[in-house]
């Protein structure tokens, strides 16, 4: 071909992995509870309640399988504001990623908080889940959390 013809070639390149993961007996209960619009954690032998639950106490390695109800409300322990949500984010307007410690839990879990504006976000604020109309047994059954008393 003629030299100097055209510039550098460029193309979109999309890599997709359609993983399916086995949940196991503990996470399986957690997701089943979400399908029923409830939260469950696991209580370790030392009495700590982990949410999301794990099959083992991460500090001692002891098996943990006693499920206990937690939430639905909780407290934001830390957060980061997303000014420009991306295509796969749970909300298509600005929101916060937050660690939320559900009532009765000793650990916090990551989820989105919808306050509309960054100035309404605060560490220590109380939030409550906004459930999707259809639940399937997924963390996305919770559309997001919102400030308590919003709806």
């Amino acid at each position: 071909m003629a030299s100097g013809d055209g510039g550098l070639l460029s193309a979109s390149h999309i890599v997709e992995y359609p993983y399916r993961r086995s949940t196991g007996p503990v996470m399986g209960r957690f997701f089943a509870a979400l399908r029923d619009r409830r939260f469950e954690g696991v209580k370790t032998a030392r009495g700590r309640v982990l949410v999301p639950p794990t099959e083992y106490d991460p500090q001692t390695g002891e098996a943990a399988d006693e499920m206990v109800p937690v939430g639905p409300g909780g407290v934001v322990t830390t957060w980061a504001w997303v000014s420009h949500p991306r295509a796969k984010h749970p909300l298509n307007h600005p929101f916060a990623w937050a660690l939320i410690q559900l009532d009765g839990a000793d650990t916090a879990m990551l989820h989105a908080v919808d306050t509309g504006v960054e100035s309404a976000m605060q560490t220590g604020m109380r939030v409550t889940p906004r459930w999707r109309a259809q639940t399937v047994g997924s963390i996305n059954d919770v559309a997001c959390f919102e400030p308590e008393g919003t709806s």
Binding site: G6, L9, H13, S22, T23, F31, A32, K88, G137
Partner: protein, 166 residues
């Protein structure tokens, strides 16, 4: 299994999607435009004289730019291969089929390509093959301008001729 257990969620889907904009760079752009012309273009290292196909613009061994362009023919030797028996949604070819490392004549690094027009268990190391291109009007700046490689009626290449390219 108790009733509570039977209600467990057994699995979840966690799709991962990575969106890239890939810019080919000078060397790969030359190679891909060559593909659109039905030519296989590589580059020779000025220091060790190895020929890279496809070219990346530099010699990984010598760390120098490879600015000398060379054209290589569509014939080559299978250095190694595997028989794929697992189907994939992203492939429109039915297993079993052979993916082979092909060392083109005059090139010093092999690349992966599909082998067709022979039974999978006839494929062997040293087998001589040639590129089968798409129809002229379908040529484009993509590796898919070569549909696959097929055996040619030549004696197998001796192991010594490709052993350093495995």
């Amino acid at each position: 299994m108790s009733e509570a257990e039977s209600e467990l969620v057994q699995s979840i889907t966690t799709p991962l999607r990575l969106e890239y904009q890939y810019t080919a760079g000078v060397a790969s752009t030359r190679f891909l435009r060559g593909m659109a012309d039905g030519k296989i273009l590589g580059q020779r290292c000025p220091q060790c004289e190895k020929v890279y196909v496809p070219p990346r613009g530099s010699c990984a061994r010598c760390g120098v730019a490879t600015d000398l362009e060379v054209q290589v023919p569509g014939t080559g030797t299978i250095t190694t291969f595997c028989v794929v028996r697992i189907p994939s949604d992203s492939l429109d070819i039915d297993p079993p089929f052979v993916a082979a490392h092909i060392l083109l004549d005059g090139a010093d690094i092999p690349f992966f390509a599909l082998i067709q027009e022979c039974h999978f268990d006839e494929v062997r190391m040293g087998m001589r093959v040639e590129a089968v291109w798409v129809d002229a009007e379908d040529l484009g700046p993509t590796f898919e301008s070569i549909r696959y490689f097929r055996p040619i009626d030549e004696p197998d290449a001796p192991f010594e001729s490709y052993k350093e390219h495995l």
